[in-house]
């Protein structure tokens, strides 16, 4: 559960204010830090992983909250302040949080920053939505996410040696649950013939998932999700679905649900549910922890492919 709600309005003045807040009298800062050292994670999925293995005495918060997009995150002075008071900062890396370096710098935070994807050989993202080069969505493969957990465990043990045993024990239990889920996901997907595992997903975030579990995620060609589509774009998508033998559409961002229904019906595909890519759902939702997100995505995929 994140304590910070994402705020979307940000300008240069706010950045300056963030810097100014960071320079608050030291006494005010130390008072809060002394109460409960905080671990600040950059986005909700990472915060959940940290929460699973962090010592119980520590408070874990996320800068980008659930159901919010880390790609277009706009930090506010409150975020800068939170960072300044943090005991440890955890980020994904691979260019996922382009804003984090500057934010850490202006906040005045001087402690360690754990890059949880360290040591992972990234996939090439191609030209997808702004990340050039490396594909940052490595948590969409449970095997790679185990690497995240190892990095987080080591970083936390180093930062708080007195909690080392607790962190080790909790992370071992978490890794075991992840391995179990990984086997479950594989079993669920292997029940479907490999050639049939072809879907269209609007958000290009499932490259790691597809590579790890043998699902082809195709991007809808020529869709601009923010404008009314042309007849040509609809026609192209229908052709693509037919030609590539796509079984299901997961295109939650396309503006008009009626249009998606129409396209799927005409092309002989199904409309699948929502896949969670970059953020958890709000607490109480279908994907409010990382493991639940992974299971939800897999079940949604399987349901779309087998119906």
């Amino acid at each position: 559960m994140s304590l910070i709600e994402p705020m979307t309005f940000m300008n240069r003045r706010n950045l300056i204010r963030a810097a100014a807040l960071a320079a608050l009298p030291l006494s005010a800062q130390t008072q809060t830090t002394a109460a409960a050292p905080q671990i600040v994670a950059s986005f909700s999925i990472l915060a959940d992983m940290v929460r699973e293995i962090a010592p119980a005495a520590l408070l874990v918060t996320s800068l980008v909250g659930p159901d919010a997009d880390a790609h277009v995150f706009e930090p506010t002075p409150a975020h800068g302040k939170r960072l300044a008071q943090a005991g440890l900062v955890v980020v994904n890396g691979l260019g996922f949080e382009g804003w984090i370096d500057r934010l850490v710098k202006v906040s005045g935070y001087a402690g360690p920053v754990i890059v949880s994807s360290r040591g992972i050989t990234p996939r090439d993202a191609g030209k997808s939505h702004g990340h050039r080069g490396a594909d940052p969505h490595a948590w969409q493969d449970l095997a790679l996410a185990r690497r995240y957990v190892a990095n987080l465990r080591d970083g936390m043990a180093e930062r708080w040696p007195q909690h080392q045993a607790e962190v080790k024990q909790r992370s071992a239990a978490y890794l075991e649950r992840m391995a179990g889920l990984d086997r479950q996901v594989r079993a669920l997907l292997e029940a479907i013939p490999r050639a049939q595992r072809r879907v269209i997903a609007s958000h290009d975030a499932f490259g790691y998932y597809g590579a790890a579990y043998g699902v082809d995620f195709l991007a809808p060609q020529g869709w601009n999700t923010h404008s009314e589509p042309s007849a040509a774009a609809v026609a192209r998508l229908i052709r693509q679905i037919k030609q590539d033998g796509v079984r299901a559409l997961f295109v939650e961002n396309i503006s008009d649900p009626r249009l998606i229904q129409r396209i799927a019906q005409e092309a002989g595909a199904r409309v699948g549910g929502t896949l969670y890519s970059d953020a958890l759902s709000a607490a109480g939702g279908p994907a409010d922890t990382y493991l639940k997100l992974f299971e939800h995505n897999t079940r949604t995929l399987v349901a779309g492919l087998t119906a």
């Binding site: 020529g222 404008s227 009314e228 589509p229 042309s230 007849a231 040509a232 774009a233 609809v234 026609a235 229908i238 503006s255 008009d256 649900p257 009626r258 249009l259 229904q261 129409r262 396209i263 005409e266």
Partner: protein
């Protein structure tokens, strides 16, 4: 030649959604172009626009209660727009205020109420659907509704044609021969609202008025007489719908605005080159008057 034919017919042969969109725009033109002509003749051209906005709060209320459901949103829109029309008519009959002013007042109230209702639940995306619709997403239910409304419109117009025309040109005479002008007026408003409601599913509130008014205003530059004008308006609407869809297909542009812009082009061309009172024709005739 065959490649031209392929470009014109191909998209409709290959894709059912293109055929649906085509049938929807044709049926819409059939029903709403004659209504547009009547509005033009009665100097109520802007009432269509006002009514289209008045649909919004009702459609939004339907959306809030039943989600993205065609019957709920249609019924809500119909009731809301009719309420605005009747309220404006009431003010006009009972106060010195003219109809244009009372319509403007009530449709603005309705529009603001609609925006408020939409933002109560849904996101801005939902509002965008209502304002712009999508002719490419017309499903069976919407198509059926459009066809029924077009049929009912044409039948009703045929039924009340004489009193309607009389009421448009000489309401005093209609009253003197015992006709019920108010009933005819209300019937026209009901038809107007029904056409707008069925069109807003396909084209959205903003574009629905375009397909109604632009062909009607253009037709006036080609023929005289209401039946001829209505026929030409329907033809312009049908042609614009077809061309607009093809433009959207080949030039990769959004469909709704394409259709209405082609209607707009037809209007501008009619103003310039129309056989009846076109700008060009008047220019050509001018010297004749000067050399008397």
């Amino acid at each position: 030649m065959s490649s031209v034919l392929q470009a014109v017919v191909g998209p409709f042969v290959e894709f059912p959604f293109m055929r649906r969109a085509l049938v929807a725009t044709w049926a819409l033109s059939l029903g709403s172009a004659p209504i547009g002509c009547l509005l033009v003749l009665r100097r109520m051209s802007l009432v269509g626009d006002a009514m289209a906005h008045a649909v919004l709060p009702g459609a939004a209320a339907g959306f809030l209660l039943a989600g993205l459901s065609l019957p709920a949103m249609s019924l809500g829109g119909f009731v809301a727009a009719l309420a605005v029309a009747l309220a404006a008519g009431f003010v006009t009959r009972n106060t010195p205020q003219r109809e244009d002013a009372s319509f403007a007042a009530f449709y603005l109230i309705a529009l603001a109420l609609g925006v408020l209702l939409v933002s109560l639940r849904g996101s801005q995306m939902d509002l965008m659907h209502m304002l712009f619709g999508s002719v490419l997403a017309v499903d069976d239910a919407a198509l059926l509704q459009i066809a029924v409304v077009a049929s009912v419109t044409l039948w009703t117009l045929a039924l009340i044609y004489r009193p309607l025309v009389l009421e448009s040109f000489d309401p005093g005479f209609l009253r003197s021969v015992g006709g019920r002008g108010a009933a005819v007026h209300i019937a026209l408003l009901v038809l107007l609202v029904a056409n707008l409601v069925s069109a807003f599913q396909a084209l959205g509130t903003l574009m629905a008025v375009g397909l109604m008014m632009l062909p009607a205003t253009a037709a006036r530059f080609w023929v005289a007489g209401l039946p001829a004008m209505a026929a030409v308006a329907v033809a312009i609407g049908v042609a614009s719908g077809t061309l607009g869809l093809l433009l959207s297909y080949h030039a990769e542009l959004p469909s709704g605005p394409c259709i209405v812009l082609v209607c707009g082009a037809a209007y501008v061309l009619s103003v310039l080159f129309g056989a009846r009172d076109g700008v060009l024709l008047r220019q050509l005739r001018k010297p004749v008057h000067l050399t008397r």
